[in-house]
């Protein structure tokens, strides 16, 4: 019996203690949230901060954690922020490879003249509309910087 009572009172004491913590958590939450960048969600439970959301890079993620840790009353920070996946960089072929590949691709289009400079393919001459898509598909697969189409379409 005695043990039970002791337990009960402990629980009550703990509850009161926790209840008294609540406004503090809310205050910490508000303080950190105000300092964090948009897109970051701050949650605080008993002084333990959890950060969630998506940020642009690792540096922003680390900075968000520092901001939270620096706040008075914070016991720990769980950083669950995710970094946005970076889109694969644009690959542009070297001129030497591009010149050779453009020559191969345009070989069957004798009315088309193609020049390559700094990754840009410049098309001049004339071409039937029906063949244009095929030519453009061939050239687009060669990783040019740009296709400057000055063809006269018949």
């Amino acid at each position: 019996m005695k043990t039970t009572k002791l337990l009960m009172s402990t629980v009550i004491a703990a509850t009161l203690f926790l209840a008294s913590c609540k406004p503090k958590d809310a205050a910490i939450q508000a303080a950190i949230q105000a300092k964090e960048a948009a897109g970051i969600t701050v949650a605080v439970t008993k002084g333990d901060v959890t950060l969630t959301g998506e940020v642009d890079d690792e540096a922003t993620k680390a900075k968000a954690e520092e901001i939270a840790k620096a706040e008075k009353g914070v016991k720990s920070v769980i950083n669950n922020l995710t970094v946005k996946p970076v889109a694969a960089p644009v690959v542009i072929a070297d001129d030497s490879a591009l010149i050779k590949n453009v020559a191969d691709a345009t070989k069957d289009f004798p009315t088309v003249k193609a020049e390559v400079k700094d990754g840009v393919i410049v098309l001049t001459g004339e071409l039937k509309k029906a063949s244009l898509i095929t030519l453009m598909q061939h050239l687009s697969a060669l990783k040019p910087k740009k296709i400057d189409n000055k063809l006269t379409i018949k």
């Binding site: 889109a87 590949n101 191969d104 598909q137 697969a141 740009k146 189409n149 063809l151």
Partner: protein
């Protein structure tokens, strides 16, 4: 209007068509769309959408590089030139000597596709060499 807005119908179509590894990036005034289509019809559809937005592809502000996925198990390809025979060359490049020809519509054996642009093939007569991959359609 940004390029992403200009070509939003195209990127929407690409997403709807289930293009894998779809990447859309804008750099120095050019939009680059890369990805892999399940079949040739899907690729052609995207090119039609592109042609609607930018008639005759005259703006020079998009590089649409969507390739057709090919099952590793595929062993044959059809010659899809407009009408002429397809040259088979000793090496990958039009500067290489011609070692044979494949007829328009002929189905030939694929030996190696490690080069994206030039596939190593073998004709039914046993001639082996490189063909321009754009004129070959993998047979399921």
């Amino acid at each position: 209007m940004s390029l992403q807005d200009k070509y939003s119908a195209l990127t929407d179509a690409a997403t709807a068509a289930g293009i894998t590894d779809l990447a859309v990036r804008e750099q120095d005034g050019v939009l680059y769309i890369d990805g892999t289509a399940a079949d040739g019809a899907t690729k052609d559809h995207l090119w039609e959408v592109y042609n609607q937005i930018d008639p005759n592809f005259a703006s020079g502000d998009l590089v649409l590089n969507v390739n057709v996925a090919i099952d590793a198990a595929v062993t044959h390809a059809k010659v899809v030139t407009e009408s002429s025979n397809l040259n088979i060359r000793k090496g990958p490049g039009t500067d290489q000597p011609i070692v044979g020809k494949a007829a328009h519509g002929e189905i030939i054996t694929l030996v190696n596709r490690s080069n994206d642009l030039w596939w190593l093939v073998r004709t039914n007569d046993g001639e082996e060499g490189y063909c321009y991959a754009q004129y070959l359609e993998a047979q399921a």
